[in-house]
């Protein structure tokens, strides 16, 4: 058992470190400017000069993938942050106070979950224009319900616990109970939620960019690169493969890491 735990942590940690490292590198330095055209021939196959070849404008795909990963990670982090913070707030209040407001908010969360994500993104994009910030907001809103549900259940469970009941009897304020007693107990459920949410956020961002709603050109994004590359699938398969594999490896790294952490906790 011990060996296996290490394996997943090692693989996942290694892969995540590699991908995040590359993404970080990409935000500060890339071999070529990711938007510079004619950095090489159009559709140059992978070579030493262009590790992942070039695209239809002769832009260096490796540089674009690096920067695209950075963008994906940043967006995912923001999305999860919004979802987690707002979700925790909503979930805490609902779970702690209960009542009709809780009922309505829970239904609202259900409604948002049932609302097609593309439509919400399009609404926000039509209102505020296309762009990175808009997509962060749209996805952030979509990520609130899952966190809210998680936190609500946990809070409601703790509310019944003896130590909370006795704290209430002692006249401790609601705010104090929430922040001092309940919040610290939420980390256990929030931790895995954040990792899973992160993966979902990377995937959602890629989907939105794939539909042209995310990061706007000329800035690279893995999803829009994948969408663009479809036309050149036969001529430049490395273009589609690079973008697609980058998304897949990013997600794989995190899920392996999560698996490893989960197994270690269980062991």
């Amino acid at each position: 058992m011990g060996k296996r735990t290490n394996l997943f942590l090692l693989l996942g940690g290694g892969l995540t470190a590699l991908m995040v490292g590359l993404a970080l590198l990409g935000t500060f330095w890339t071999p070529y400017s990711p938007t510079a055209m004619g950095a090489g021939e159009k559709f140059a196959p992978p070579s030493l000069a262009h590790l992942l070849g070039t695209d239809n404008f002769g832009r260096d795909v490796f540089s674009r993938v690096l920067q695209g990963m950075g963008a994906s990670l940043l967006i995912a982090a923001c999305v999860v942050a919004i979802g987690c913070l707002a979700g925790t707030l909503v979930g805490c209040l609902c779970g702690y106070f209960g009542g009709p407001a809780d009922y309505l908010l829970t239904r609202l969360c259900d409604a948002v979950t049932a609302f097609p994500s593309v439509l919400l993104a399009l609404v926000i994009v039509s209102l505020a224009g296309r762009g990175t910030a808009q997509i962060v907001v749209a996805l952030g809103i979509l990520f609130i319900p899952s966190f809210a549900r998680l936190v609500r259940g946990e809070t409601a469970r703790h509310r019944q616990a003896n130590y909370i009941q006795s704290a209430r009897l002692m006249g401790v304020s609601h705010g104090r109970i929430l922040t001092a007693h309940i919040l610290p107990n939420l980390w256990g459920v929030l931790g895995p939620g954040v990792v899973i949410g992160f993966n979902n956020a990377v995937l959602s961002e890629a989907s939105m960019s794939f539909l042209g709603l995310g990061v706007q050109p000329p800035f690279p994004s893995l999803g829009s690169m994948l969408s663009d590359s479809q036309t050149y699938l036969q001529r430049a398969p490395w273009y589609a493969l690079s973008a697609g594999m980058a998304i897949a490896l990013l997600i794989l790294g995190f899920s392996l890491l999560a698996e490893g952490l989960q197994r270690r906790r269980r062991a």
């Binding site: 058992m1 060996k3 296996r4 394996l7 997943f8 693989l11 239904r107 609202l108 259900d110 409604a111 948002v112 979950t113 049932a114 609302f115 097609p116 994500s117 593309v118 439509l119 919400l120 399009l122 609404v123 039509s126 209102l127 993966n199 995937l203 890629a206 989907s207 794939f210 539909l211 994948l226 590359s229 479809q230 699938l233 036969q234 398969p237 589609a240 697609g244 998304i247 897949a248 490896l249 997600i251 794989l252 899920s255 392996l256 698996e259």
Partner: protein, 313 residues
């Protein structure tokens, strides 16, 4: 029974909220349907006249009320763009998307159950680790990327199918299902991988339970124990997951319809949004959410049926 009624009420409230949200969303979006209908060369008067004809000049609440009462009567309204009944328009598209969803779901089941059981019965720790890594990898590939890969490798490379040569189910049901195989697989593989992971860990948990020891002490074979005893328990969380998958698959099909150019509800939704064809969008959004909500309800119900402890409790 009472909890069932409560759930039904929650279901209806949720649907109501979704339609209200959708309606509100449209009132917020700038650029009205008249512009997209009449194009660049129309006069402002013509646009105003069209707006009046479509009833867009009336207050939001009135329009919502009319839409809602119509919807409850089964009247989905008329498409601004195509000037035909939304119901009539949707019928064909729903069939396609339903077929795609059904086929994806079938593949998910066919892949997830045997592989999950296999993964749950692997004893060698190294083999098990390899399976898990493989499974995680399958989970991590976005369906639309899988779709693109399928087009490239299976479509162009191996010539197993002709990307884009879609046949409608009315023309040729089997041909249509045949075309949908690869889109369905693109959706099903990552989903199935998730189900495999869940089933595997569920089986492992169940294998550690006392009743398994009891069964062993009666001389039951490992295969018998797995299939007859453990699986019935291990499948419970998977049932919920699979039911929820039905909703996710529907959502995923929006993207996959793009990749494989399948004229389903997803594509209609996207184009109707950009055309500001609100009656169509509203109908689709409401029906989609109804589906999602209903599927969650179904998940609940199935779990109740499959688990005697909840069934009566």
């Amino acid at each position: 029974m009472k909890s069932l009624l409560k759930k039904c009420a929650a279901l209806i409230i949720t649907l109501f909220l979704v339609s209200a949200l959708a309606f509100l969303a449209f009132s917020l979006i700038p650029a009205d349907p008249a512009t997209s209908l009449l194009g660049s060369e129309a006069t402002p008067e013509a646009k105003a006249a069209l707006r009046a004809e479509l009833g867009l000049d009336r207050p939001l609440l009135v329009r919502y009320w009319e839409w809602l009462t119509g919807f409850l009567r089964g009247d989905l309204g008329n498409s601004y763009l195509y000037r035909m009944g939304v119901g009539e328009m949707l019928a064909g598209k729903l069939t396609v998307t339903a077929l795609l969803t059904a086929e994806s779901f079938l593949f998910t089941l066919l892949l997830a159950l045997p592989l999950g059981i296999l993964a749950g019965s692997v004893k060698n720790p190294w083999l098990d680790a390899a399976c898990t890594v493989l499974d995680q990898a399958a989970m991590s590939v976005p369906p639309f990327f899988l779709g693109i890969l399928a087009c490239y490798v299976l479509g162009y490379g191996l010539r197993l199918f002709v990307p884009g040569a879609y046949v409608s189910p009315e023309e040729d049901l089997w041909g249509c299902l045949g075309y949908l195989v690869f889109p369905a697989l693109s959706i099903a593989i990552p989903r199935a991988a998730m189900a495999v992971k869940l089933l595997r860990s569920s089986i492992l948990t169940e294998l550690g339970r006392d009743y398994v020891r009891t069964a062993r002490s009666r001389g039951a074979s490992e295969r018998d124990i797995l299939l007859r005893q453990v699986l019935r328990n291990a499948i419970l969380p998977v049932i919920t997951f699979l039911a929820v998958s039905l909703a996710e698959i529907m959502t995923m099909s929006i993207l996959i319809e793009q990749v494989f150019s399948i004229p389903g509800v997803g594509r209609l939704l996207l184009s109707s949004i950009s055309n500001r064809d609100y009656p169509v969008v509203l109908a689709i959004v409401t029906l989609l959410s109804a589906w999602i909500v209903a599927v969650n309800f179904l998940a609940d119900l199935l779990t109740r049926l499959a688990d005697p402890r909840v069934r009566l409790g």
